[in-house]
């Protein structure tokens, strides 16, 4: 029986409401417990900050498009930019890559930052075995993946015909087949349109041939999600990402959730998670008069409790954009003319990959940077606004500590702003320079573990230090009562933990990987009666349209690494 | 005997080669599938080569004896083709233009009739090249 006692740290645990009190955390057999015996291994956390293991609600770390990025960008392997984190082989395997790190580096780097769970943001169902192969080779981290549904032909047809139960049965079947956790929607309808070289840029643009609109798709999927009572809500990347003036389309998308209420047994309160909302908060009519729409967007989010979001903070790095939003990547490439990869996936989705340089000497990049921070600083309920960089789209996840620094320190924001060539224009197009709010450690704990865990419906396992949760703990070298005045020291503390503990095992000590225990693949198992109509439809589409046989489509059990099912029953 | 003429050689897959390879590289089928050169009839005429007789193919990096045929998948005059495999690789230049991929297609060869020369087996060619061939057991 392994026992661990973390003594005298400053505890920040929003789920149980502990705000920096000095207390002990006990872990037995991998779970948080009230107390342990005197034989327990003791970690002295005095003068340090203690939080549960970090939870990333939206990150592209595993699977086909991530790997397309790795494959097509040999120049990314040693690239650092201004990033200070280095590579030293610490774990069992090499660590390679900056914006699109290898699976091994992904596991190690998250662990060093105190993260123990990530949610892969987009899994093309047909390519699910690939995602699971990468999970196997990503050490330490527990992982889940969201299959994409927003351009799926089955869903189009069921939603168009108002067959909610059939759509639910299909979604449940696909979650089981792909070992996925929840419903991801990317540019609803737009990616299908892209298969013909077109797009849907508003929620009312009809999808070619299928006679359905993005609004109908989103509402249909919200209804499906709540009918099933899935742990997470619908997770949306809406239409018209990345374009000036799109905040109106974003508000349109958010309003689709207005009449819905969350129904689930997992403590989740939202019905819609709008991911990387920074990319959706743009005003202006062109890149010339481009400006922030953060205020309008966050006013709406603040007022509507059934919505959560993550920020998708631009980190001002050279990075690699990748999304199931195929038309977006094509248009981005039309702007920067670097290389472009695209993969349209039969009956289901598409994707694109384009390298991108967020240059602080380009006005638009500076404004994008400001918008992400504004969104977080305008937020009233930080349990509903989460830190992400939409890794690697707005920047690599290894920059989270830098994002935390910007949010905790006005001085740090000013310093970055001062390095921008078009500083005055950035200031004119946003409110960032006038915002003096500085977030505290409790708020950071909300944004990086408690909030995401609750939104994912996983707060009983992750993002919390309450009894029964997994014994995942991050201990940072930060004296909560005496925070350093130099913001760089805050960043450094979040970059490398004093300790990261995964299920009661110390995996990182003083920023070094020292153990690689087992990890889990989380997925949602919906128990419901088989739906004969849906099974018939599935068989028919596989016979006529897919190029893979139905019997080879679902991920074989032997290819799912250490599965851990979140179960729910639907009558 | 006519004057030597430089042809442009390529080497590519063929279904016969694919089948034979799976049967085995020491099989009769593999030998039959791969020890031939496909040429344009006009070139054969000019070079004094009778159909289905043996020829010596020489390149900058080696030489090999194969049987000349007019393939079903025809070559234009000046182009010739040996199916991917052991015989072709006796003459394929290993130069890669710094890409890793050898010059499998598009290199100059001379082809001359040698009706009385014997075709070697795959094993004889490969083991022979590395000094291991001990003759037919």
């Amino acid at each position: 029986m392994s026992e661990l006692l973390i003594k005298n740290g400053y505890i920040f645990d929003p789920i149980s409401g502990i705000k920096g009190d000095k207390a002990d955390i006990a872990i037995k057999d991998g779970k948080i417990v009230d107390k342990v015996s005197s034989k327990a291994q003791v970690i002295d956390a005095s003068g340090k900050t203690v939080m549960s293991g970090g939870v990333d609600i939206h990150t592209h770390v595993s699977g086909p498009k991530v790997n397309t990025g790795r494959m097509m960008r040999p120049e990314d392997k040693f690239f650092r930019g201004s990033y200070r984190g280095g590579i030293i082989k610490q774990g069992k395997r090499m660590e390679m890559g900056f914006s699109i790190p290898s699976t091994y580096k992904t596991g190690y780097a998250y662990a060093r930052m105190g993260y123990t769970f990530t949610n892969e943001a987009a899994m093309p169902p047909l390519l699910a075995p690939h995602v699971h192969e990468e999970f196997r080779d990503t050490p330490i981290l527990d992982q889940a993946a969201m299959p994409v549904f927003g351009n799926n032909w089955f869903c189009f047809e069921y939603i168009k015909n108002k067959e909610l139960e059939n759509n639910a049965a299909y979604v449940a079947w696909l979650l089981n087949a792909t070992k996925g956790i929840g419903i991801k929607v990317v540019n609803p309808g737009g990616t299908e349109a892209w298969a013909w070289g077109e797009n849907c840029t508003t929620i009312n643009d009809p999808v070619p041939y299928f006679d359905i609109t993005p609004a109908e798709i989103v509402k249909g999927l919200i209804e499906t999600n709540e009918y099933l009572g899935l742990p997470h809500s619908v997770h949306i990347h809406g239409n018209n990402l990345g374009n000036p003036g799109n905040y109106k389309d974003t508000l349109d998308t958010l309003r689709l959730a207005e009449s819905y209420k969350a129904k689930n047994k997992f403590g989740r309160e939202q019905v819609l998670h709008n991911t990387h909302i920074q990319f959706h908060s743009y005003k202006g009519t062109s890149w010339a008069d481009f400006e922030s729409g953060a205020k309008e967007i966050m006013d709406y989010v603040n007022a509507n409790k059934n919505i959560t979001c993550d920020i998708g903070q631009v980190t001002l790095d050279e990075t690699t954009t990748m999304t199931a939003d195929g038309p977006f990547e094509y248009h981005l490439n039309q702007l920067n003319h670097i290389k472009w990869a695209n993969v349209d996936v039969e009956l289901e989705t598409g994707s694109g990959v384009v390298p991108y340089i967020y240059d602080k000497n380009i006005k638009v990049c500076g404004i994008q940077w400001a918008i992400g921070l504004e969104l977080a600083l305008y937020a009233k309920d930080l349990m509903r606004v989460h830190i992400t960089t939409d890794h690697p789209n707005a920047g690599p996840f290894t920059r989270y500590p830098c994002v935390i620094k910007w949010l905790m320190s006005e001085k740090a924001r000013k310093e970055t702003l001062d390095t921008m060539k078009w500083k005055d224009k950035v200031i004119a197009a946003s409110n960032i320079a006038s915002m003096d709010r500085e977030l505290g450690l409790y708020e950071i704990a909300m944004m990086t573990r408690a909030g995401p865990a609750k939104a994912l419906g996983l707060a009983a396992i992750y993002g919390s230090l309450v009894k029964g949760a997994d014994g995942n703990v991050a201990i940072y070298n930060l004296d909560a009562n005496d925070l350093p005045s130099d913001p760089e020291l805050i960043e450094a503390a979040f970059q490398n933990t004093a300790y990261t503990i995964k299920e009661g095992v110390v995996v990182v000590k003083d920023g070094e990987i020292i153990a690689e225990p087992h990890k889990y693949t989380l997925w949602t198992k919906v128990n419901m009666p088989e739906n004969a109509q849906v099974m018939h439809d599935i068989k028919e589409k596989f016979t006529k349209n897919y190029t893979v046989n139905l019997e080879n489509y679902a991920v074989f059990d032997e290819h799912v690494h250490n599965p851990r099912a979140i179960e729910l029953d639907v009558a | 005997m006519k004057a030597k003429k430089t042809l442009n050689m390529i080497t590519q897959r063929a279904v016969e080669e694919g089948i034979a390879m799976e049967i085995g590289k020491t099989s009769r089928q593999y030998f039959d599938a791969c020890s031939i050169i496909e040429m344009n009839e006009q070139d054969m005429k000019e070079l004094g080569i009778m159909k289905n007789t043996n020829v010596r193919v020489k390149s900058e990096s080696g030489e090999v004896v194969v049987k000349a045929v007019v393939g079903r998948q025809t070559c234009y005059p000046g182009l010739c083709h040996i199916r991917q495999g052991v015989w072709a690789n006796q003459v394929v230049p290993p130069r890669t233009q710094s890409t890793g991929a050898p010059q499998y297609s598009g290199f100059p060869v001379t082809v001359e009739p040698v009706p009385n020369e014997r075709l070697k087996t795959a094993l004889e060619l490969v083991q022979g090249a590395v000094g291991m061939w001990k003759g037919d057991q």
Partner: protein, 443 residues
């Protein structure tokens, strides 16, 4: 009672067909019947249950003969030689599942050696072009369901990918392509009048080695400069170029499948680079995708697996031990062989002795040579050690990546010959043994 196994994957070409039907004998050892498969696939399954399969590793003796040894001895010999070598090379993986390819990455990371796959001599130039220009592609089902214009350029599926045209491209009736071949225009660009050209609507008999010029000509037309074309480019008449370009422009969904005809000839990666540029151009006015006709059923696999492991798809230099390096031309197998840089060679799941130019084989043979392969082939017959393994898709399953990078889950259909290991198990044992030797200070 014989048992029928359906939905079996075929371990031959990059089509990675997964609809094969196999009838297996009562005892699970023999394959009685093979259906839904091309002539080549049939031979693979037949060979799989051959009584002549090698069952034990064989070590070359001083007199040149081979002697059976145990797997344990073979593993130890390989591990010791790998640790002793300064720059060992493991090359192949045309016929290995991804699990084996992942294990190979572990072996060579521990050994500190070079790791390369058959792409190095096939679609390696395509990787170089992708590094420079990206890869606007799609899955094969998109072609089946949507494509109305198909281009095969420097590829000959009638021979190299026998079911490609019927399953994915020209003939199938898909969702938006209910009329199948009748509504598709097929363009074949090849210097030979191939069997594929025989079923095409247009055969452009490009002058061998001049593909780049022809791509350039098409780009000129797409950019609106068709009038300025010379009367003939790369052996193709101006009128034909204009006519075919018009078909490309008017496609609803077009796909270009390219093969060795472009990667093996002068220009190499530049031919692919411009093919990608043409695809990008065409997307301004239509919808176009491009795809490499990957040769083997899982030769996309090592590129995928090693990209997530190291960030590079091939030509890996792991000798630095704490970081990987890739530089084709320098770290590519044939180039290293020709410079005689490699001091041990492991040929796995391929036959370098048959498929490398012979001067490269001669160079590699100067050093210890291990062949890991189920069959007798040219490599096994010149190697110092031959270790037999299971045949992926026949007596071991696993994940493989089809030419469009779609993972296909292969099944085991018969029991392997008693005692024969699969690639993954064997390679992990070699890695374990190296770790053991290192820990003991014997290396």
């Amino acid at each position: 009672m014989p048992k029928v196994i359906e939905n079996v994957g075929c371990p031959y070409c990059g089509c990675s067909c997964d609809d094969v039907r196999i009838t297996v004998s009562d005892d699970g050892k023999d394959i009685l019947e093979v259906e839904n498969v091309c002539a080549i696939g049939t031979e693979i399954f037949k060979h799989g249950c051959s009584k002549d399969r090698i069952r034990l590793p064989r070590m070359r003796q001083p007199d040149g003969s081979m002697k059976d040894i145990s797997y344990e001895e073979a593993i130890d010999w390989t591990a010791r030689h790998l640790l002793k070598a300064k720059k060992p090379l493991m090359y192949g993986f045309g016929s290995t599942n991804c699990e084996g390819q992942a294990a190979a990455a572990r072996v060579m990371e521990i050994a500190g050696g070079m790791l390369d796959n058959c792409a190095t001599i096939c679609h390696g130039p395509s990787f170089l072009a992708i590094f420079d220009n990206g890869y606007p592609s799609c899955t094969l089902g998109e072609v089946k369901n949507r494509a109305d214009v198909i281009v095969y350029w420097g590829s000959n599926p009638a021979h190299a990918h026998p079911r490609h045209m019927s399953r994915y491209s020209i003939f199938p009736r898909g969702f938006f392509t209910g009329k199948g071949q009748k509504k598709r225009t097929v363009i074949v660009i090849d210097p030979r009048f191939t069997d594929t050209a025989n079923v095409a609507d247009y055969h452009l008999q490009v002058k061998q080695g001049h593909d780049y010029e022809l791509f350039n000509a098409f780009r000129m037309v797409i950019h609106g400069h068709g009038k300025d074309l010379p009367d003939e480019v790369a052996g193709i008449k101006k009128e034909t170029i204009l006519e075919v370009a018009e078909i490309m422009k008017n496609a609803r969904f077009g796909t270009t499948f390219f093969g060795m005809g472009l990667t093996h000839t002068d220009g190499r990666n530049h031919n692919i680079d411009i093919a990608i540029s043409l695809t990008r151009d065409l997307n301004k006015i239509s919808k176009w995708t491009i795809m490499a006709m990957r040769g083997h059923y899982n030769i996309a696999g090592p590129g995928v697996v090693w990209s997530w492991t190291f960030g590079f798809p091939y030509c890996l230099d792991l000798t630095k031990q704490n970081h990987a390096h890739m530089n084709p031309g320098e770290t590519s197998s044939v180039d290293m062989a020709m410079r005689d840089e490699v001091d041990m060679f492991i040929n796995i799941g391929t036959d370098a002795a048959a498929h490398f130019p012979i001067p490269a084989v001669k160079q590699l043979k100067k050093h210890p040579w291990v062949t890991i392969d189920p069959s007798i082939n040219m490599a096994s017959e010149i190697s110092d050690l031959h270790i037999p393994v299971c045949i992926c898709g026949v007596d071991v399953g696993g994940i493989v990546y089809r030419m469009d990078n779609v993972p296909i889950q292969f099944r085991k259909v018969i029991e392997p010959p008693e005692g024969v290991m699969d690639d993954e198990t064997l390679l992990n044992k070699i890695a374990d043994r190296m770790e053991e030797l290192k820990a003991k200070g014997e290396a």
